[in-house]
Amino acid sequence: MSQPGGAVFYDRGVATTEEPVSGLDQLIGEVEADAARRRSAPGFPHDLEARINAELARQSPAPSGRVPLERLVTSVEEASFINIDAPTLASRREYAMVKGTLKRGMAWYFRYVADQVSALGFTTARTLRAFTVRLSELEDRLSALEVADGPAPATSLAGPSSAGEHLGDWLEEVTEQLRATPGRILYADADAEAVVRLLRAAGLDAYGLARAGDPYRVSPDVRYGDLLAHLDTVEEAALAGALLAGCTDAMDGATLRGLTDHLARCVQTDGIVAIVSEAPWWWHLRLDPAAADLAETKPLSAETWLAFLHNAGFEATACYATDGRSYAVAARREASPGPR
C-alpha cells in the first residue's frame, strides 16, 4: 500500500520511507485517512466493527445521575454474607493438611462470629432500605411542591362571561387610552358586537371576540371563540392593545395566568390593556348570599389584576368609579424581556 506523495510501503511489513518523517499533526491526518480507506476497502471486518461499537456503547458511562440508592443498598446486602469456607490449598501437602485441620477445628468459632457479622450487615441493609424509601417519598413530595410557581396557565376561560354592566361608564375613557398606540385592538367579550361598533366609530382598528349568541350571526369584526384560544394564535406584538369586560369575571388562577402571559406576548411595547370590572364588594352586596356562593362567575379585585399584570411585564394602575361600584385597570406593556 502506498501513501500519496511518498514512497512508503507498510502493509504488514517493515516500512521504509524516502521522505523525511512527517510532523505529528500530519501523521495524525495520514492515520485517519488510512483508517477511512481501510473502512471502505473490500474485506474490511464490518461485523467485528459492529460488535465492537455495541460493546463500547454498552460500556459508555451514562450521563450522571446519581447512583440509584437501591443499588447501593444491594451492595451492602451482598457484602453482608461472610463466607468462612477458606481455601486450604498449599504448595506442600503437609501445609494443606495443617490448614484443613485448623479449618475443621475452628469452623464452629468462625461460624459463630460470622453469623453475628452477617446479621449486622443485613440489619444495616434493611435500615438503609427504609431510609431510601423515606427519601424517595420526600423527593416525590418536593417535586410536587416545586410546581408551586402558581397554577399552570390555562388554555381556555374558566367560566361564562357576565354582562359587563359597567363598561358603558368607562368606555370613553378607555377609548382615549387605547388611542395612544396605533394598531389592532382586541375586545372581549361582553356585548362584543355593540362595543366593537362603538370602538370602530371612535376611530380604533378594533375587532372582537364573543362566546355568547349565535356563532353564525356575528359581524365581520367579531369572531366567536374563547379568548385564550384566540390569543394563542395571535403573533407576538401583533396587538396595539386590548379591552376586556365581562370575561373578566370568568377567571381562576390558571386562567388569569394564561391570559396575562398571552397578553404580555401579543401586545406590543407601550400598548395598553384595559380591564373594566364590577367591584367585588358591590357584586356581593347586590347578590343573594347563596347566589354569590354558587355563582359561576365573579369579579376579581383590582389588586389581583394589578399583581398578575405586573408579574407579566406591565405597568398597571387601577381607578375606581366615583360610586365605587366598578373600576378600570390600565396596563402599559413595558419594554422588558417577558413575564417576571
Binding site: 507498510y10 483508517a35 481501510r38 458511562p61 451514562a62 447512583v67 443499588r71 447501593l72
Partner: protein, 355 residues
C-alpha cells in the same frame, strides 16, 4: 521562608502516586527549612513512622502552621479541615467523574461524588490552591478557587534512557499500558483496538496490561470482552503487582505505550514510558494532553480503526518509531526530580507568601 507545614491526605500508601508525591514534598520542604508533618485517616501498615493518624489533628489548632491538603476523593478529613483555623492550601490531584464508576463500583462512585461536592465546599475556605496540571487547575477555577498555581507532581522517576532506542522490526508487536484496572482508564477500548488491529494487520500483536485491580467487576468484564472478541490469548494481564525490574523490562520490550484513558489526573506511567524512550500513542484529553504534550502521538477521540491504524503505523514505520522515541525522550526531562522539586517549591512558597 520557614514555618510549619502539615500535609493531610485521606489515605497514605506506599505504592501510590499521591503518596510518593507527599513523601517527596515532605523531603523538599524539610530541606527548605520547614517543620513538617504528614497526617492521614488511613495509614498503610508499615508507614506509621512517616505518617500520624489524622485524628490527632482533633487535639486542637496547630500554631504557626499551614495545612496542605491533598484532595482526590471524598473524605471525612476534608470536612474537618474546612472548619479549622489554620490557613489551608489544597493540592488538587483531580477526581475521576463518578459516572465512569457508576456501573462498576457504585460505592466508589458515591465517594467520588462526595469529593466533588467537598471541592466546592472547600473553595471559599481555601487560602491558596495548587494543581498538578493546567487541566486540574482549570477544574479548580471552575469550582471557585482563586489564585490557582500549577505545581507538578514531584516524583523520583530514576534514571532515564539517554538516547532514543533503535527501531526493531517484529512480527509480534507488544503494546503496553501501565495503570490500575479501572473504568476511567478504558482498558476495554485497548482490547477492542487490539481486536481490530489483529483483524486488519495480522494476528501476531499482543496487548500487555500492567496494573493492580481497582474494580473487580470491570476486570472480570475485560476478560469476558477479550474472549468474546477472540483475543483472549493475546491480552496479558499483569494485575498482581509487578516488581520494579519486571516493569522496566516491560517498558523496554514494548513496541509502544498505548493509552486510551478518558480521565487521568496526571498519569505517571506516561512519564515512565517517555523516560524509557518508548513511543507513546494516547487519547488526547484530561491531563494526558498536558503530561504528554509534544512527547507522543495524541489522538482526538479516535475510533478502534483509527487507533489500530495509528498503532500499526508506529509499529512498522522505522522513521516514525524513532521520531516518537526521540520526542518522548525530549519531553522526559520536564519531569526530572530536580525540575519538579524546584517548580513545586516555588509555587508553594508563592502560595504561602500570599497568605
Amino acid at each position: 521562608m520557614t514555618g510549619r507545614v502539615l500535609q493531610v491526605v485521606p489515605t497514605f500508601a506506599a505504592h501510590d502516586a499521591i503518596g510518593d508525591h507527599i513523601r517527596q514534598v515532605d523531603r523538599l520542604l524539610r530541606r527548605a527549612g520547614y517543620d513538617t508533618g504528614i497526617y492521614a485517616t488511613v495509614v498503610e501498615p508499615g508507614l506509621e513512622e512517616r505518617c500520624r493518624p489524622a485524628r490527632e489533628l482533633l487535639d486542637g489548632p496547630a500554631r504557626d502552621a499551614v495545612v496542605l491538603y491533598h484532595h482526590s476523593t471524598g473524605s471525612t478529613v476534608a470536612d474537618h479541615l474546612g472548619a479549622r483555623p489554620e490557613p489551608l492550601i489544597v493540592d488538587y490531584h483531580n477526581i475521576t467523574p463518578a459516572e465512569m464508576w457508576d456501573a462498576w463500583e457504585p460505592m466508589v462512585a458515591v465517594e467520588l461524588s462526595w469529593g466533588r461536592r467537598q471541592l466546592h465546599q472547600l473553595a471559599p475556605r481555601t487560602a491558596a490552591a495548587l494543581a498538578d496540571s493546567r487541566f486540574n487547575a482549570d477544574e479548580l477555577e471552575a469550582c471557585g478557587f482563586a489564585g490557582v498555581q500549577v505545581a507538578p507532581i514531584v516524583r523520583d522517576f530514576g534514571a532515564s534512557d539517554r538516547a532514543p532506542r533503535p527501531y526493531r522490526a517484529r512480527g509480534d508487536p507488544e503494546f503496553l499500558f501501565v495503570g490500575r484496572i479501572s473504568p476511567n482508564k478504558c482498558q476495554h477500548e485497548l482490547i477492542t483496538a487490539l481486536a481490530m488491529y489483529r483483524a486488519l494487520f495480522g494476528a501476531g500483536a499482543r496487548l500487555r496490561l500492567v496494573g493492580r485491580v481497582s474494580s473487580p467487576s470491570y476486570r472480570a468484564d475485560l476478560s469476558r470482552l477479550a474472549d468474546e472478541l477472540g483475543v483472549g490469548g493475546a491480552v496479558i494481564f499483569d494485575d498482581h503487582g509487578v516488581p520494579e525490574p519486571e516493569l522496566i523490562g516491560a517498558y523496554q520490550r514494548a513496541t509502544a505505550f498505548v493509552c486510551l484513558s478518558r480521565h487521568e489526573g496526571f498519569c505517571v506511567p506516561l512519564v515512565e514510558a517517555m523516560r524509557h524512550a518508548l513511543p507513546v500513542v494516547a487519547r488526547a484529553g484530561s491531563a494526558v494532553t498536558d503530561t504528554v504534550s509534544s512527547g507522543g502521538l495524541l489522538l482526538s477521540d479516535p475510533d478502534p480503526v483509527v487507533v489500530a491504524s495509528a498503532w500499526h503505523r508506529v509499529a512498522t514505520d522505522a522513521a516514525i518509531w524513532e521520531a516518537l522515541s526521540s520526542a518522548a525522550l525530549a519531553r522526559a526531562p520536564a519531569f526530572d526530580l530536580e525540575v519538579t522539586s524546584r517548580a513545586f517549591l516555588d509555587a508553594f512558597e508563592r502560595a504561602v507568601r500570599g497568605l
